[in-house]
């Protein structure tokens, strides 16, 4: 199969590059080994400064509502982190003082939302917290199998019942100025979080849950849909098993599902395979490597220097990444491959000018797409 550009990796950076290239009239395919790190998405883009109109438009056209409001976001542990751009249902606050009295509401039987951690964290900041549980009869079906009562299942059940949720929370509300709910709304209908906010006479904050992240799954679904509507080919659940590289040029790749039916790109390939979770980088006891092309990886020789014994501390291995030229062309044996670009978290922190995490995924993907388009 022949395309103009073939993108290996279907997460945030792969989709952003794919959408941008399709919009510019290129024929592209994305090869994705299963789902991606968007399923763990906090809903905020930590390192993105004032985003360009083009980034806002890209999301808006896909139906992903974002807002730019630099400040701090509430973490599921009741602490705060800096952020600038976020999905519309994730609040960014000017300071850590988000309210005086806080009502934290969870669903009965839902174990992936840590209401007591949240309360503990917020009380340390001088806020008064009260935790209450909601019991909707419609959720009883899910409660039958407690280990499977997860964010996505709850979202599918409660989205159509948002009015009921509003009524129940209003009944629980006493003199609190802030209500915290788990991020389990707006999976299929993105207007639900906004409606809940409007219906409750207090500031409503949606706080993160354990994975899957409902805002993340929603973002993945909407971006993929947009990409496919633009005519892009999304090969889900497939994996590149071999790359055909000759004299510094990638000609085609073979995948597990398409075996001898090679996927060719006439203009460029993009490697956006993510970090360790998505196997964009693989670590074994001896080395850290990039499994598709065997690209050069920046990492420390001494294995003891890979990690920080303090679990919560900054972990050096998280900075490792594939080496790329200033144009983000991948390096192999010290030389850039002529048509293989690298984007997203497979870069690690090797190019700090693109920021980190979700911000880097977007910035580097746009940069690479522009290079391919000759902009």
């Amino acid at each position: 199969m022949k395309y103009d550009v073939v993108i290996i990796g279907g997460g945030l950076s792969g989709l952003v590059a794919g959408i941008t290239l399709q919009k510019a009239g290129k024929r592209t395919a994305i090869i994705s080994t299963g789902q991606n790190a968007l399923h763990f998405f906090s809903g905020t883009f930590e390192s993105l400064q004032e985003p360009s109109q083009r980034i806002k438009d890209l999301f808006l056209e896909a139906g992903v509502r974002v807002h730019y409001n630099p400040g701090v976001r509430l973490t599921p542990m009741g602490t705060f982190k800096e952020a600038a751009l976020s999905l519309e249902d994730i609040d960014l606050f000017p300071s850590e003082k988000i309210g005086k009295r806080v009502l934290i509401v969870n669903f009965q039987g839902y174990h992936d939302f840590f209401s007591s951690f949240l309360a503990e964290g917020l009380e340390k900041q001088g806020m008064q917290c009260r935790v209450r549980f909601l019991n909707l009869p419609e959720l009883e079906r899910l409660q039958q199998s407690p280990s499977e009562m997860r964010s996505v299942q709850i979202a599918r059940t409660v989205d159509p019942l948002w009015e009921k949720v509003v009524q129940e929370v209003r009944l629980l509300l006493k003199d609190e100025d802030t209500v915290i709910l788990p991020q389990v709304f707006g999976l299929a209908d993105t207007s639900v979080p906004g409606r809940i906010r409007q219906g409750i006479p207090a500031r409503v904050v949606f706080a993160g849950t354990l994975p899957p992240s409902v805002p993340g799954v929603r973002t993945q679904i909407l971006l993929r849909k947009r990409y496919q509507l633009l005519g892009g080919t999304y090969l889900m659940g497939d994996e590149v098993v071999r790359a055909h590289v000759h004299e510094g040029v990638v000609h085609s790749v073979a995948t597990k599902n398409l075996d001898s039916h090679y996927v060719e790109a006439s203009e460029a390939f993009i490697l956006s395979t993510g970090s360790y979770f998505s196997k964009g980088l693989v670590a074994n006891p001896f080395r850290v490597y990039e499994p598709v092309f065997g690209l050069d990886v920046e990492y420390k020789e001494d294995r003891n220097a890979w990690y920080n014994p303090s679990f919560a501390g900054d972990q050096p291995y998280m900075h490792f990444g594939v080496k790329a030229s200033a144009d983000l062309l991948a390096l192999k044996d010290g030389e850039p491959l002529q048509n293989l670009y690298v984007a997203g978290s497979v870069l690690g922190d090797t190019h700090p000018e693109f920021g980190s995490a979700a911000g880097q995924a977007i910035q580097s993907a746009l940069f690479v797409a522009d290079k391919i388009l000759g902009l």
């Binding site: 499977e148 994975p211 849909k225 080919t233 889900m236």
Partner: protein, 404 residues
């Protein structure tokens, strides 16, 4: 120390990192609270089952085997295979008469064919549906596939000579549906391949692929089918040097992947030669072959990628072919399960689950209101036609219709 024995198994289960992504894409989990979900039923359960079969949970029978968990898994765990393999290994409940009947698609087909008009009339009657529901627990709301009076095999045998005249040849594994229910699809394939200069021949004697036997607890019989079919495939591939094409996504997945992964039947020497016809046609077109289409063809087509084609990763070929027909307005439906999963949706205890799972797909089809829904799976066709009223055609039949 034999630690390895207790900590590793086939199907990559130790690669699971408990990320829960699979649970977001399981169609059953949302519709049926009795099902423990792919993570629990698959890798989590496997860890316990390896230590003691006591931990096998009979609720694993609610798994559709749609493989969506495997497609979604970022770590390459064969979640659905783990579940089906556990059912084969630990569930020794003898299958009910109903399940035996539903699973024996070729046997039932050969019984029904000589009396097709009578059988079709009978299964269409309200009274027989009530009876089947009461006696066998086959849900009365379900419409039954019609049987054809003449088999596809018989038809192709009558055309053997003219097919042999084509310079290039392929073998066709037609499956039970084309042979007993809908020979027209087989004839459509012959028309399209002939237009590309390819003649079609039968395998010497194919048997049902056996997927329904596997999912209905009759894996020993399924293995006999697999051994037989692999020998037949070898004859075509190794002795005659032919590729073997198919028009059913589920038969294809079974022949290629379920045989080695679930039944332990080695097919490594023939696996790569078993192709959906859509893939073979795409390959021919890429090599420069051309198809001539009607100038005035116009159709609004909504394409549903069946779960097993999604697992094969080959929906892209049907999509390409359909998009390539001049005058086609093409829509790709959202990736979702229709809910029937072969014989699953016919069972009274699964009917509600089955319809609830398919609802998202049905409402998208109703909203689009296409001229026709395209799909490479026969049971999806029954489900979508029954649940939406829209006609469903195999992409091969659409190609045949659009050809000059």
């Amino acid at each position: 120390m034999k630690l390895q024995e207790f900590t590793s198994s086939k199907h990559n289960f130790e690669e699971c990192m408990k990320c829960t992504v699979c649970t977001a894409y399981c169609p059953v989990l949302q519709a049926n609270p009795l099902y423990p979900g792919p993570k629990q039923a698959g890798p989590d359960g496997e860890r316990l089952r390896l230590k003691d079969p006591y931990f096998f949970n009979k609720a694993l029978k609610y798994c559709l085997n749609c493989k969506r968990c495997e497609v979604a898994c970022p770590s390459g765990v064969a979640v659905a295979d783990l579940i089906q393999a556990a059912r084969i290994r630990y569930d020794h409940t003898p299958p009910k008469l109903r399940d035996r009947m539903l699973a024996s698609t070729d046997f039932m087909g050969s019984l029904a064919r000589p009396f097709a008009p009578l059988v079709n009339f009978g299964t269409g009657l309200g009274i027989s549906k009530t009876l089947l529901d009461a006696t066998l627990k086959i849900d009365h709301r379900r419409s039954f596939p019609k049987y054809s009076g003449r088999s596809f095999e018989g038809w192709l045998k009558r055309h053997r000579k003219e097919q042999a005249a084509f310079p290039e040849q392929v073998a066709y594994y037609h499956g039970c549906y084309v042979n007993y229910n809908y020979p027209q699809l087989g004839k459509d394939l012959v028309k399209v391949l002939n237009a590309l200069g390819i003649g079609v021949q039968l395998l010497e004697k194919e048997k049902c692929c056996g997927i329904a036997l596997i999912t209905n607890g009759m894996s020993a019989t399924a293995k006999k089918h697999a051994d037989h079919n692999v020998a037949q495939l070898r004859q075509a591939v190794m002795d005659k040097g032919l590729k073997v094409v198919t028009t059913s996504s589920t038969c294809t997945l079974t022949l290629r992947d379920e045989y080695p992964n679930l039944l332990g039947v080695d097919n490594a020497d023939v696996r790569e030669s078993i192709l959906m016809a859509t893939r073979l046609i795409c390959e021919k077109l890429e090599q420069g072959a051309q198809l001539k289409f009607k100038a005035d063809y116009h159709k609004k087509i909504a394409y549903h990628v069946p779960c097993h084609l999604e697992r094969l990763g080959w929906g892209v070929f049907s999509e390409r072919l359909l998009r390539g027909i001049p005058g086609v307005e093409f829509y790709l439906l959202d990736s979702a399960c229709c809910g029937i999963s072969g014989t699953y949706g016919f069972k009274k205890e699964n009917y509600e689950t089955s319809q609830a799972i398919g609802e998202a797909l049905f409402s998208q089809i109703r909203a689009l209101s296409p001229d026709v829904v395209a799909c490479d799976c026969e049971t999806c066709k029954w489900q979508i036609e029954m649940s939406t009223g829209f006609q469903v055609m195999n992409p091969i039949s659409i190609l045949a219709e659009a050809l000059e």
